[in-house]
């Protein structure tokens, strides 16, 4: 007859077995669980604007072998800030996007741009310029203002040359001039050194009687100089080879157009036609091309069909003088090449980013370039081993204590 103590022995074994089974199960799950840390996967939702540091960190992890993916609504914005190639010390911020954009710098908002993008020209920018659409923003460094080159005006003594030079000088350009006063007398400005074509960034030609200077001008343009052809010079046969278009016959301006605040309508015009394939139209008047430009080798040629633009300054509305000045400055800037210096520098003390960097200037493009295209759905991640319920541990403990107590009660070791 088995004593009650002996009858507990099978139960003790059962308890021990169950406890050992639970321990074995834990060990087994630990051994057999997938190694999640072996190839870590990172997925970010970039809907909220990622900082440059966050992007760099993700790129670093991707290059270290981590599987880095991203998703989210990141607007396709690109922006760049360039110094305007004129003496105004202004900066043009170019930005493109599908949506409307707000522009600002460290001092606050500057302006906005409609969907599709555009350009804002401003001065006095401080720190990086931020261009934002919704929660996405792009940034570009505010560059140092450019130092514009010299301008040489060639023409004859008359109102057009006087007021063209005046407009450029008032706008801050350094102007040299050679103006025909008679067949033998020239009115000059600047000395022989500064008047040399090599010293000039842009030449403004207002007269057809260029003579021997025409061939030198062609060489100047091909070597990278800028040329503005206006007035009679727009149709100068000796420069036709580099002109963006061929001017037509002169049309008188509209009577009363100055009164109607449409000064460009009032100016005499030689409409530009027969546009060369590589030419770009810069300005039109009621469908007629008035200003066109083209690149010739390393240089640029801008051709304006307007004549007697000085009338704009004298007869234009309240802002006639200013508008005439800015129009001429813009025309010369369009013909001038890259800034002579300083355009790629950073602004001391303003925390600016290097201009050439893509970081921040096109956030979506940067993400795609560095991390690949966005994924529509986050990739499945291996399930983490599910933790065993706590009560299994308690049961195991109870079982082991009970088994030990039973054994001790029946005198076993």
């Amino acid at each position: 007859m088995r004593s009650p103590a002996d009858r507990r022995i099978p139960w003790e074994r059962v308890a021990r077995g169950v406890a050992l089974a639970i321990v074995a199960l834990v060990l087994l799950r630990t051994v057999l669980a997938p190694d999640a840390a072996a190839v870590p996967a990172v997925h970010v939702d970039a809907t909220d604007d990622l900082s440059a540091q966050a992007r760099d960190s993700l790129v670093a992890r991707a290059r270290a072998g981590d599987a880095v993916t991203w998703s989210g609504e990141v607007a396709a914005i690109a922006t760049v800030a360039e110094p305007l190639r004129d003496p105004s010390a202004r900066t043009t911020i170019l930005a493109v996007s599908d949506g409307a954009l707000a522009l600002g710098d460290s001092l606050g908002a500057i302006d906005s741009l409609p969907a599709g993008g555009g350009a804002i020209t401003a001065s006095g920018l401080r720190g990086p310029v931020r261009v934002g659409e919704g929660r996405t923003g792009a940034s570009a460094a505010a560059p140092m203002p450019s130092t514009p080159g010299r301008v040489l005006v060639l023409g004859r003594v008359g109102w057009e040359s006087k007021f063209t030079i005046a407009a450029l000088e008032e706008a801050g350009w350094s102007v040299d001039a050679r103006l025909r006063l008679s067949d033998t007398v020239r009115l000059t400005q600047g000395d022989a050194r500064t008047q040399a074509l090599g010293a000039q960034a842009v030449v403004v030609a207002l007269d057809t009687a260029l003579g021997a200077e025409a061939s030198a001008l062609l060489r100047f343009v091909r070597a990278g100089g800028g040329l503005v052809l206006s007035g009679e010079a727009a149709g100068a046969p000796s420069l036709a080879g580099v002109a963006p278009a061929r001017p037509g016959t002169r049309q008188e301006g509209g009577q009363g157009a100055f009164d109607a605040q449409e000064p460009l309508q009032a100016l005499p015009l030689r409409p530009l036609g027969s546009l060369r394939a590589e030419s770009v139209v810069l300005e039109r008047r009621e469908g007629t091309i008035t200003v066109a430009a083209r690149r010739v080798a390393a240089g640029r040629v801008v051709q304006a069909g307007y004549d007697e633009t000085w009338r704009w300054r004298m007869q234009g509305g309240a802002s006639g003088a200013r508008d005439h000045r800015e129009w001429w400055s813009h025309l010369v800037a369009a013909a001038s090449g890259a800034p002579t210096d300083g355009g790629r520098g950073t602004r001391a003390g303003t925390g600016a980013l290097p201009v050439g960097s893509l970081d921040g200037s096109a956030p979506r493009a940067t993400l795609v370039q560095r991390l690949g295209p966005a994924v529509s759905v986050a990739p499945p991640t291996p399930p983490a081993p599910r933790a065993l319920p706590a009560w299994l541990g308690i049961i195991t403990l109870i079982l082991l204590v009970a088994e030990w107590a039973s054994r001790r009660a029946r005198g076993a070791a």
Partner: protein, 691 residues
């Protein structure tokens, strides 16, 4: 012998009086407490003027509220307490009465036993009344005394800052002396004393960054403490020291200048700028226009209206009589209708009569007439204003058939040119809006403009009709008009216009030349006819909902109206001989040669703009670290602006004030930057050529 009821009535009066005194005391204490609190708050943080203006009404309101509360809670119950209630109150405090008093005043007890009456009479009630009154008054009167003493202990002017705030009381703020001991430039007050002739009183400004004053004003800058020196431009100004206050006085400089105040702890800049006293404005109401008279007889009535910003001194009509011809001109001048104005007169009128008979005028003589007014400016003046000049000419005998013997015609073309310009602007606007508003709206608005255009054309037509009819009436001539004199039926407007067009004998849609030997009548009417025709073409285009097509015709109409307007002026001579130089013949025949020197470059319009922007950029970095220094930098930057840039000057003043005050200065700095750098220029879409 007093009855119990009489004794209770006396007690009631005593309680009522005490409650009333308490009410007044509580009210006064409340009001004074508000003032005391405001004075303390002002001493600690310096309350702005608008807030300080509210303090006195607030104190009165607090006192009033307390008085009402006391009236409801104590005064009214005390005065209206019944004998029974008062008797119970005494019984509660004097148990020895054993309800004798209550019984004595109980109306239901017909006859009170003498023993009870005796007991009441033997018990004194007054000590209880005095005790209760004392309790009632002690607390509020003590509070009132404490608050009053505290207020009396406040420095001079500190209470006035909250009770009667005024500009210029910044130095009276409590604690100012200790603040000034650390920094005598912490608070300044500027007093502007206008020149005496204006009759204006002095004005004060608390802690300004810039001051603008009438030229000739005296500026007094004051502050507490000592050790301050001042430099106005390069001139040192010694401060006067009195009663712990420094004071600097100087005349406002003619151009904007910076007053540099130097204290032991720091510097401070104050921008001082003057504005000029405007010269009087004179408007000659009579005669209304230039005239050519057939003979120098009669009187010309003169009348002028005058205005000045600070007061007129005197005014008169001035005339100059010119006689002669060729190189032998003589001139006489004089004044009529002179009048002096009383001090402070800012508007006035002068009237007079010019007797032509007394001027000994001869044919061909000219009288130039105008009104002159002087102001009381004894600093930079007197400022003298003049009206437009009217010319009266005595015609020569050989001029009588010329149009110039008529008075100057009214200026219809001028008015019509304005109207036409307005219609043109509206049409231009419609053309620009057309793609957005749809064809139906364009048609509707275009027709509306066509109606306006037609109305204007009719008006011009009437002018021409009237003139041509007058010419017929006066048998006036104009070149090639083909007009036959004699008894004729009057023409209707269309016939007159047709005749005039035939007279012009050109395509009405083309510009008519005003050259040649035409009479002024034709010179006036020809352009009007042109304008009339151009308007007809414009209205036709508008009728067909083609605003773009109407614009060139409107522009031509304006141009023609302007020529008509120019032709309406009467000039003293006819056209000079027309000499055509034979350029081909003389070109290059000059014997003397020249070698003109090189042209000198014109200076940029604002060469310092970039430097100013750089300075602005640099000072932004110092705002957080040293806002007061940054504010001074903003003011110095403002002084470097061209005098004409008022907008930028105001923006920088505002930015300096904002920086000095502290808080969020972003908006003020943005405005300042925009004023210095100009508004950004936006270009929608990207150009293929770049910028």
């Amino acid at each position: 012998m007093t009855t119990p009821r009489e004794r209770l009535a006396s007690a009631r009066r005593a309680f009522g009086l005490a409650a009333s005194v308490r009410g007044v005391g509580v009210a006064g204490a409340s009001a004074l407490a508000v003032l005391l609190t405001a004075t303390l708050v002002d001493a600690l943080v310096g309350m702005p003027m608008p807030l300080r203006r509210l303090i006195l009404p607030l104190a009165v309101a607090a006192g009033g509220a307390a008085l009402i509360a006391e009236a409801l809670r104590r005064i009214r119950p005390a005065l209206r307490a019944s004998d029974e209630a008062l008797a119970l109150w005494f019984e509660q405090r004097l148990p020895s009465l054993r309800y004798a008093l209550v019984t004595a005043v109980d109306p239901q007890v017909a006859s009170v036993p003498p023993s009870i009456m005796r007991e009441v009479e033997e018990t004194p009630l007054e000590p209880e009344v005095r005790r209760a009154t004392r309790r009632l008054l002690l607390q509020p009167l003590a509070l009132l005394a404490v608050v009053t003493l505290a207020l009396l202990a406040a420095p001079d002017g500190a209470i006035a800052r909250v009770t009667a705030p005024r500009a210029g009381d910044a130095l009276a703020r409590a604690g100012e002396a200790s603040r000034a001991a650390r920094d005598p430039l912490a608070t300044i007050v500027v007093r502007v004393v206008p020149p005496g002739y204006t009759g204006l009183g002095a004005t004060s400004i608390d802690d300004p960054s810039s001051v603008t004053a009438l030229a000739g004003s005296r500026i007094v800058v004051e502050g507490r403490g000592d050790g301050v020196t001042a430099l106005l431009e390069s001139r040192e100004i010694a401060p006067a020291q009195r009663d712990g206050t420094w004071r600097i006085a100087f005349d406002v400089p003619p151009r904007a200048a910076g007053l540099r105040l130097r204290g032991p702890a720091r510097e401070r800049v104050l921008v001082v700028e003057s504005y000029a006293d405007s010269v009087p404005v004179a408007r000659l109401d009579a005669p209304t226009r230039d005239s050519v008279l057939r003979s120098a007889r009669g009187a010309v009535a003169l009348r002028a209206d005058l205005r000045d910003d600070h007061g007129l001194a005197d005014a008169a009509f001035e005339y100059i009589v010119s006689s002669g011809a060729g190189e032998t001109y003589t001139f006489r001048s004089g004044r009529v209708g002179a009048r002096a104005f009383a001090a402070g007169a800012r508007e006035g009128r002068i009237e007079g009569t010019l007797l032509l008979d007394t001027l000994r005028l001869a044919p061909g003589d000219l009288i130039h007439l105008r009104a002159l007014a002087r102001d009381r400016n004894d600093v930079s003046g007197p400022g003298q204003g003049a009206s437009e000049t009217r010319t009266i000419r005595i015609a020569r005998a050989d001029e009588y058939d010329s149009v110039s013997v008529d008075p100057m015609p009214p200026t219809e073309p001028e008015k019509n040119a304005l109207s036409q310009r307005m219609i043109l602007l509206m049409t231009t606007e419609l053309r620009d809006r057309a793609p957005r508003i749809g064809s139906a709206a364009v048609e509707r608005e275009s027709r509306r403009l066509a109606v306006e255009q037609t109305k204007l054309r009719k008006r011009v037509g009437e002018v021409i009709f009237v003139r041509l009819s007058e010419d017929q009436g006066e048998h006036a001539h104009f070149a090639g008009d083909g007009h036959e004199h004699g008894a004729e039926k009057p023409l209707d407007p269309d016939q007159v216009l047709a005749a005039a067009q035939r007279a012009a004998n050109v395509d009405p849609t083309r510009q008519l030349e005003g050259e040649g030997d035409e009479t002024p009548v034709v010179a006036i009417n020809k352009p009007l006819l042109e304008a009339y025709n151009h308007m007809w073409r414009a209205s036709t285009e508008l009728e067909t909902a083609n605003p773009a097509g109407a614009i060139p015709w409107m522009q031509r109409a304006i141009e023609a109206l302007q020529r008509a307007r120019a032709a309406e002026r009467i000039y003293l001579r006819g056209r000079p001989p027309r000499v055509v130089v034979d350029l081909a013949k003389v070109r290059g025949t000059g014997r003397e040669k020249s070698a003109p020197p090189a042209r000198e470059a014109r200076a940029p319009l604002d060469a310092d703009r970039a430097a100013r922007l750089a300075r602005f950029d640099a000072l932004l970095g110092s705002i957080a670290a040293d806002p007061l220094a940054a504010a001074d930098s903003l003011l110095l930057l403002r002084l470097s602006l061209p005098g004409s840039d008022r907008a930028a000057a105001q923006a920088l003043d505002a930015a300096a004030d904002a920086v000095r005050r502290g808080g969020d200065v972003t908006a003020a700095l943005q405005r300042a930057r925009r004023s210095l750098a100009g508004a950004p220029v936006r270009q929608d879409g990207l150009s293929p050529w770049g910028r």
